[in-house]
Symmetry: C2
Subunit: 191 residues, 2 copies
């Protein structure tokens, strides 16, 4: 096993850092993978052993977020309504952003600077929605309700995140609650 994260090693972290730095310094498409690897003291080939492609270096936190969110949905009481379970999933993830406001902001500015990265971001969110929908189906929620509830949860998350990053630092939780309330109001106002 022994994957120690001492200083000289931790190649993955070094690659992530080098990539972020270079993307900020020169921009995403003025940075080659070879550049990133060189700054991290590694080779291009090694980069691709740690990340599936150039974009992925910015999205490595994804799986953790997904596991947490899906776990909270699975842990919700069986009698909870679909959207209630999804809301539990979304709020369960809020603490993961504590103290990361500056980093999230920087990361988001990079993503917003290049369509290729935005594409990957929405793909990650779609994947997350799919995992949420699967968790709901496992709770007995049929389609299309499962898909709709999952996509609704992601919509709330996206809106809350957007509010959170563009505001001065603070907790993400109240933003989620606000957006969730707003979401319900919008849906009810249609009557």
């Amino acid at each position: 096993m022994g994957a120690m994260s001492r200083w000289p090693s931790n190649p993955r972290g070094r690659l992530e850092q080098a990539a972020m730095d270079l993307f900020v310094e020169r921009g995403y498409d003025q940075t080659t993978v070879a550049d990133i690897a060189m700054r991290a003291g590694l080779t291009e080939r090694t980069f691709f052993r740690h990340f599936a492609d150039k974009r992925e270096v910015l999205f490595y936190g994804g799986p953790v977020l997904q596991d947490r969110m899906v776990g909270a949905v699975e842990a919700a009481p069986p009698e909870a309504a679909p959207l209630t379970a999804v809301a539990a999933g979304v709020t369960a993830v809020a603490p993961m952003f504590a103290g990361r406001h500056a980093a999230a902001r920087l990361r988001q500015s990079i993503i917003d600077s290049h369509p290729e990265l935005q594409e990957r971001e929405v793909a990650k969110l779609a994947h997350l929605a799919e995992a949420l929908a699967d968790a709901l189906r496992a709770r007995g929620v049929p389609d299309p309700a499962a898909r709709l509830a999952a996509d609704s949860g992601i919509a709330v998350f996206r809106a809350a995140f957007a509010q959170w990053v563009t505001s001065p630092a603070g907790d993400m939780r109240p933003r989620i609650d606000e957006c969730f309330d707003e979401f319900v109001k919008i849906a009810e106002a249609v009557r």
Copy 2:
């Protein structure tokens, strides 16, 4: 429905058709852009003059759909609630799928066969959602409501489309209405 254009020209259509054929015959990543161009009687360079990249050849109908949907939102009565306006946009687009069930099904099976294409598809939907949100903001709907209502509309559209393609041929309109009702029920059940 063939409408396979006449012999002379219409290079874009020929490229689209050649790409579809080859993707079905050999699969997406066993098909090079040079293959597509050759079958269409053109060169690789010409392919990239008509489509921004290899994926785009499958997504050329996007802008039309978006214009129609956004137009319907803009045309909705000013006093209509955000989600009502969005619903008008989504339903306005249903007729565009009439008589295209088989084609849509084929296209979807190709997209589902490769992550790169799924990524592009959700990116297109995200772009559509953004356009919808802009139309709502132009109607005076503030954030995060505009974003939430737009994403909700896209969620309904996705769910309705998924129901429609996986069912025997028929009109898409009732699917949209069903999914919209289901969506409202889900949102209300949270109380």
